[in-house]
């Protein structure tokens, strides 16, 4: 009788690195890492040799030299004696501005079109389908260039507004001037202004924060908070008595009264654009480059958002609505409690990735001369200083930071609303 023994332990042989699945993964990873590092080293050594031959070692000192060019559309103060870094930062704020405006407009238009495309009205649905197909199937660069051309070529020039027999006139009760040099809209002014607060001293990232704006935002936030409290109290009363007190007039008052009081206290009035000399003065000047980029990006992205919204609504099976109806919910509550929460789970991730696309597409600003970060850092700065490697690296880094922060938000949202399966 033989005793049961463990099989003899195999001694490690070199061939097991390839043929034994237990060790093979180490081999593959070691080879991959080696190859990757060799490839990287090869690229870097090539770059260093090439840059030495060109006499351009990698340095970022150029960023602190004066930029010597103007940026005509900007949110923060800047003049051509500021540094390249300041110019790049102004460009970044311009990128964020057009991306922000574009995302809002695209969302509103996209939701509108997406819902109408599901309309029972055949004609309306078809018109929306034509809009979506036309805008999705033509490059966004073409829309941007076309929008710019239309604005420049077809709008009246400021001199058409002059004189007794003016061929053009201002719209919206003489408050908005649409010209081929840009759109002039009224600007908010405060006669008893609280002034600005200068942040970050003299650094390239310095900015002026208007205390008026800050006060308005704070009041609005406080009002919304108060409205939430009122609603919570109404719900509590409803839960105990079964009757919900009407709250809308209270809410309306809470929202508007403090705001209006604050605006009067600050001496709020509008500054209207006026024709002086050859051009309009006063008001806020939106240059054509910004308007064209904003219009084209929003129209283009709205076509994609419309499809996302449509798919999201269609994804909720009709049984959900019927089941909610069988539970005795009314149509409005079915929409808000059953359909929308499920549809949003389908809609929001691709929606955010479209916002990301819009932000990246805003780099096409360079085609119409809007000074976003591609136009400043990747355009004039790069051409003036000849620092291609440094500029492109910084440009990529800026976009990467924007993209990665948006993806982080998306991942957080996805993990929050994810359906838990096996």
């Amino acid at each position: 009788m033989t005793a049961m023994t463990d099989p003899a332990r195999e001694s490690f042989r070199l061939s097991m690195l390839i043929y034994d699945t237990r060790y093979r993964s180490f081999t593959i990873q070691a080879v991959a890492l080696l190859g990757f590092m060799l490839f990287g080293a090869w690229l870097i050594s090539n770059t260093i040799t090439n840059l030495q031959t060109l006499g351009k070692p990698v340095q970022f000192g150029f960023l602190l030299e004066p930029a010597q060019y103007d940026i005509n559309q900007r949110l923060l103060d800047y003049n051509n004696r500021d540094t390249h870094l300041r110019a790049a930062f102004i460009g970044l704020t311009n990128t964020l501005l057009v991306a922000f405006l574009g995302c809002i407009a695209a969302t509103i238009l996209g939701v509108f079109v997406g819902v109408l495309r599901l309309s029972k009205n055949w004609l309306v649905a078809k018109i929306m389908a034509v809009y979506v197909e036309v805008f999705r199937n033509v490059p966004v660069l073409l829309w941007i260039v076309l929008a710019m051309a239309v604005l420049i070529e077809s709008l009246p020039s400021p001199k058409d507004f002059r004189g007794d027999n003016a061929t053009a006139s201002m719209s919206f009760f003489d408050s908005v001037a649409v010209t081929n040099r840009g759109v002039y809209i009224p600007e908010p002014l405060f006669s008893r202004s609280l002034g600005d607060v200068h942040l970050l001293g003299d650094s390239p990232l310095r900015m002026d924060l208007s205390l008026d704006l800050l006060a308005i935002v704070l009041v609005i936030i406080a009002s919304i908070f108060a409205i939430k409290k009122v609603n919570a109290r109404a719900t509590a009363i409803q839960n105990s008595t079964g009757l919900r007190p009407t709250t809308w007039h209270v809410n309306l008052g809470i929202f508007f009264v403090p705001l209006i009081v604050l605006l009067i206290a600050l001496g709020f009035h509008l500054g209207y654009p006026e024709l002086k000399g050859f051009n309009f003065q006063g008001g806020t000047h939106l240059r054509n480059s910004l308007t064209a980029l904003w219009l084209a990006l929003s129209l283009y992205t709205a076509a994609f958002i419309a499809e996302i919204v449509r798919a999201g609504i269609l994804a909720i099976s009709h049984g959900q609505t019927e089941a909610a109806g069988a539970l005795g919910l009314r149509p409005k509550r079915i929409m808000s409690l059953v359909v929308l929460p499920q549809a949003l789970r389908v809609i929001i991730p691709p929606l955010i990735s479209n916002y990301l696309n819009l932000t990246k597409n805003s780099s096409l600003a360079i085609a119409v001369g809007y000074m976003d970060i591609t136009g400043t850092l990747g355009g004039i700065t790069m051409n003036q200083t000849g620092r291609e490697l440094e500029s492109v690296l910084m440009l990529m880094l800026a976009y990467l930071i924007i993209s990665l922060s948006i993806s982080a938000v998306m991942n957080w949202y996805n993990s929050r609303v994810k359906l838990v399966e096996r």
Partner: protein
């Protein structure tokens, strides 16, 4: 019991014994009228919407139709166009001036390609269609046509760039060498050695021997066609060329990247994730800056290759990252049971991928793959920003021309029409493919 029954029967005055003939449904619910009532005038709100939509269409058409049909075709400049419009209709607004398209359409299509060689571009385009057909419509067409598809990557560049015929032949020969190296070595030395040889031998051939041999052959037998330089490439042809290369190369690279990202090997996964997220995080325009300004810096000193080739490389990498994410979505959507089923059949990793996972994952991701294709094709217009004369670049040049200064709708309508046809047919094809592969269950 039966008594009461007949009693009841007698009490009823009339009992029908035969069926009534079927009646037509009311005239308002069938045919055109029924369709109108159902789709356009089902309720008051719906009717109001219909009227608004009709007014909108009438407004658009009242501007568009005269513009399209009361237009000028024969004119050499915008001013000439305006004179003709004034003479014919008495105004210059609301009429298209197609003279610009008539004068420049060849340039918009072919760029600055020499006009006596247009046949080569046309032939390459026809060849593209022939090479794509057996892949796109695999059931209707004979499989022998795939030979054209296999030869296409070597013939197309030769037709477009011209030059000696030995270059493309040598390039093709590399693949033949690799194939036979594997075939011969596999039974003798095992698959690992065979794979290494099948990769190494062609590389040695391409980078070591082929240059010498083609040089010698070109001296001996200078068979070739007129060479065309890359800077003459342009117009819509450039968009199609870049689109085909980026689309064709990005799919296999994307599959590999997607598998890498799903892999259990941590390092491989990290490299793939890093690559994909980096490329997806930056706009294409920055990658094109890399292609036009920096790519030569990364390569050994003295290397200087064609701008179009550099753009192709960057566009392919860009497309591959997006493709990888689409395919990863398809892989993630497959039920776990498919992977477990493949394992339980004893298939190894590559067999499982090839036979079970990939066919299903790719099928699921068809819509995403095709919309990536469409996106890439549209993004080829960005090359105008780095100074290549694609359609947008040419349109800027035409609008800067004194003769056509101030024209835009006609030019952009023509360009948009070209892109629309290609992109729209791609999206229709993807719908056809989805229907064809629909198995009736998921």
């Amino acid at each position: 019991m039966s008594d009461t029954h007949s009693e009841a029967a007698r009490a009823i005055a009339f009992v029908r014994t035969d069926m009534l003939p079927e009646q037509e449904p009311p005239a308002t619910t069938i045919g055109f009228v029924g369709w109108l009532r159902k789709n356009l005038f089902s309720s008051v709100a719906n009717s109001i919407l219909t009227v608004i939509a009709l007014l909108f269409i009438a407004y658009v058409m009242s501007g568009l139709l005269p513009w399209l049909f009361q237009s000028v075709w024969n004119a050499g400049s915008l001013n000439e166009c305006r004179e003709i419009m004034n003479a014919t209709w008495g105004d210059t607004h609301g009429h298209a001036c197609w003279g610009v398209v008539k004068e420049r359409w060849l340039q918009l299509l072919y760029g600055f390609y020499p006009d006596h060689l247009y046949w080569r571009v046309n032939l390459a385009f026809v060849l593209t269609l022939v090479a794509m057909a057996p892949v796109l419509f695999s059931e209707q067409l004979p499989r022998k046509m795939l030979i054209v598809t296999a030869l296409y990557p070597f013939v197309m560049p030769w037709l477009l760039w011209g030059g000696s015929i030995w270059g493309p032949i040598a390039a093709a020969l590399g693949f033949v060498i690799g194939y036979y190296a594997y075939k011969i070595l596999e039974p003798i030395a095992g698959s690992l050695v065979a794979i290494i040889a099948a990769v190494l031998l062609p590389v040695i051939w391409w980078f070591g021997l082929s240059g010498l041999i083609t040089g010698a052959l070109t001296d001996l037998m200078p068979i070739g066609i007129e060479a065309v330089q890359s800077r003459k490439f342009g117009g819509f042809m450039l968009a199609i060329l870049l689109g085909i290369v980026a689309i064709g190369c990005s799919l296999p690279i994307g599959i590999v990247l997607a598998l890498g990202r799903q892999s259990d090997l941590l390092l491989v996964k990290a490299i793939c994730v890093g690559f994909i997220e980096f490329i997806r995080g930056v706009p294409l325009i920055t990658l094109l800056f890399v292609a036009s300004l920096l790519l030569n810096l990364f390569l050994p000193p003295g290397t200087n290759f064609d701008i179009i080739l550099r753009v192709m490389i960057m566009m392919t990498l860009f497309a591959a990252a997006y493709m990888a994410e689409v395919i990863r979505g398809g892989l993630a959507a497959l039920p776990k049971g498919q992977y477990e089923g493949a394992d339980s059949l004893g298939l190894n990793y590559w067999q499982a991928q090839r036979l079970i996972i990939m066919p299903q994952a790719l099928k699921i991701s068809i819509p995403g793959i095709v919309s990536t294709f469409i996106g890439i094709f549209k993004d080829t217009t960005l090359v105008s920003i780095i100074g290549l004369f694609d359609v947008i670049g040419l349109s800027n040049a035409i609008r800067a021309d004194t003769a056509w200064n101030g024209i835009y709708w006609e030019l952009f309508a023509f360009i948009a029409f070209l892109f629309f046809i290609v992109c729209f047919s791609m999206s229709r094809y993807s719908m056809y493919l989805e229907r064809k592969l629909q198995t009736g269950h998921n």
